[in-house]
Amino acid sequence: MSQQTSKFWFVPRKELMVSKEDTMYVGSSIKRASSNVDHDVDTMVRDGDAFTVLLKSFYVTQDKDKGDNDILVRSWARYGSDPHTEVAHFFKEDIPVPYFSAHDVQAEHIVSADTYLSGNRVWIRLQISEVDGKRVHQISSFVEQNLATAVSALGAIFPNTLPFIGNISTHALDLLSDLKHLISNKSDVILDEALDFLSVNTGETPLRYGAYIFFQRAVDGGNYLLNSFQVHSNSTAESEPIPDYVVIEIIPGVINPSSRTTIALNQSLAKGLLPVDDTQAAQIEKDERLRYLQKLMKQAKMADDLKEYYGLMTRELSGVVLNELQRKRYQALTVKLGDYIDVVKDVLDR
């Protein structure tokens, strides 16, 4: 059966799970990312679900630097109307071709949502580029040394939060700005593809749990199988060289790669901060980011008020007589926070 060619292909989560148990397994066939939902094997991301998108693997065949590619892998993601996040996943020098990477992806996390609301579009852009320049060595060794720190502190490498981490030095910041310069001036794009997902039936790629393959050019999926996030030629088909690709996986739940804080918080931080590239697009996004930060700060202030209310409430319940100013503040907060207070009381009464 001949399918239309496409750059975007999909393997349902159910298939990925089966493959781990079956010893005879050679790989799962892939179907178009925009194929119709088959409820027997596909599981959609539903309202209220938590999900995470991870970068699982990538494959490079294009030689941009005489067999010594300096490879940078980045992703951008946007959830609903929030500002986008940018994540750096991999940066290493002197990579031979062809190169398949699954176990040395330095940071997997692309984006997560703790409560999916249908109608929110999930936009994912993946990019592999070859970066050249005289300070690449310094930058790549910095990235390698500091990636672990950044990942353990933030759960992912959100470049725009890096300058805010206390233990990253001024020198590192200079290197980052060098990297930014290299990216905008001396980089060759190997793969740069974006895809929109939606959970509702709108003709856009359905947001399903499973693996998605982003190929660098349109292919006939009938020629390929996916096994452990690696694309193989289907032996029955004519052997055609496998083009460059990236594989991402959408899984249920929010994974916390960081021990210190939750990824959701850092992701929200990254959304608020200005991006490292100060491009035209970034300029346009400024106001959006500001509105986002203002909304966030408004909620944060409300939480502060709730804490203050809780403090006063606890005092009163333990028999302390509030002075006039405290009583006035307590009343003002009661009026202001009405609905929220009901929830807090409900929760604390349990």
């Binding site: 206390g166 931080l269 106001d287 700060m297 944060a300 809780y310 006035k328």
Partner: protein, 348 residues
């Protein structure tokens, strides 16, 4: 009377409208009946009311090109910087008031922490006039918070201009620091004055208070119009949150401004003693982190409410027991998260 702090003076709120002008009292003077100290849980707003520069700094023309900036540090939070004023060729000894961007700091519920106020008036000869842009930015944010300027496309020109002004050498026409509130139990603490409603007058030199009054929030010599008036700045503190411009968001913007210290080389530096660069980054990061965490709580509470009403409604409808159980489980998780937020906080 001791001769300490003869360059910093106070007039209580009660006397600000006195027709004859109000006499100046030392900022450490003991409280009298008409004084109105700010107490815990009270709201307050600090505003910059007027200033005057009496010395010539511009060598080419009469009058100075002046820019006024202030920093407010509340407890151990990072300083909030505000740019209040820009005008070319301000005549010597001519006071400026009704600045339109007077807001310095406001809080809905004072927590007893000390407040430090730093003031600088710069002579900024040879720069673009940014007066109108300041007004526009003040309209957008409720005050001109330089740390917020890079975040709006409407204020990029102002941001660029201010960056170039601060980067180039300039003369300091006036500089002063005032610390208010906090532990005022130590009566002899000369660096921290009690936090009261009224006006604080900071001069660039010691003055004989008997020779001056404060009238319409400006310093006036009693003797005659020709008498010398030093360079000074007047601020006012009132026991409520003052809403000017689009102040619905003013408090939000104020807190954002403190959280968003910039991350490039051209930062608006404070005198070094306040926070080192690294500390400021770390501090700023922690504040943003706390902000995200708090915002997260509110999201959780909203989710809890929605889920709970859905669950209550589902009892009457034909929803499968499995889905209902699912909702119940989610409710439990949410309620634990919300409770943890309060209980954790109690322990700290």
């Amino acid at each position: 009377m001791s001769n300490q702090n003869r360059n910093a003076w106070f007039v209580s709120l009660e006397h600000l409208l006195d027709d004859e002008g109000a006499p100046l009292r030392p900022i450490h003077a003991s409280t009298v009946d008409t004084d109105r100290p700010i107490q815990d849980y009270e709201a307050l707003t600090i505003s910059l009311e007027s200033f005057c520069i009496s010395k010539q700094l511009d060598r080419r023309v009469d009058g100075n090109d002046l820019l006024v900036r202030t920093w407010t540090t509340y407890g151990d939070e990072p300083p909030i910087e505000i740019v209040h004023f820009f005008e070319k060729n301000v005549a010597l000894g001519e006071a400026r008031d009704n600045l339109a961007v007077e807001h310095m700091f406001a809080v809905e519920s004072y927590s007893g922490q000390p407040i430090e106020l730093d003031f600088q008036v710069l002579e900024v000869d040879g720069h673009n006039d940014v007066a109108e842009e300041l007004q526009a930015a003040a309209h957008l944010f409720g005050a001109v918070f330089p740390t917020l300027l890079p975040f709006s496309s409407f204020t990029s020109t102002l941001y660029t201009h201010l960056k170039s002004i601060f980067k180039n050498p300039h003369d300091l026409a006036f500089s002063s620091t005032l610390r208010l509130g906090g532990l005022t139990g130590t009566l002899e603490d000369q660096t921290t004055a009690p936090l009261k409603c009224g006006a604080y007058i900071l001069c660039d030199q010691d003055i004989d208070a008997d020779q001056y009054v404060l009238r319409e929030l400006k310093l006036e010599a009693i003797a005659s119009d020709k008498a010398f008036v030093p360079s000074y700045i007047v601020i006012k503190i009132v026991p409520q949150v003052i809403h000017s411009v689009n102040s619905e968001d003013l408090l939000v913007n104020q807190r954002l401004a403190a959280s968003l210290l910039k991350n490039d080389g051209d930062r608006f530096e404070l005198p070094d003693n306040i926070l080192t660069k690294q500390n400021r980054f770390a501090h700023s990061f922690n504040l943003l982190e706390a902000m995200s965490k708090n915002a997260y709580l509110i999201k959780r509470i909203v989710q809890y409410k929605q889920l709970k009403s859905r669950h209550q409604a589902s009892i009457l409808e034909s929803i499968s027991p499995r889905d209902r159980l699912n909702d119940l489980e989610k409710l439990l998780v949410l309620s634990n998260e919300i409770r943890d937020f309060f209980i954790d906080d109690e322990r700290q």
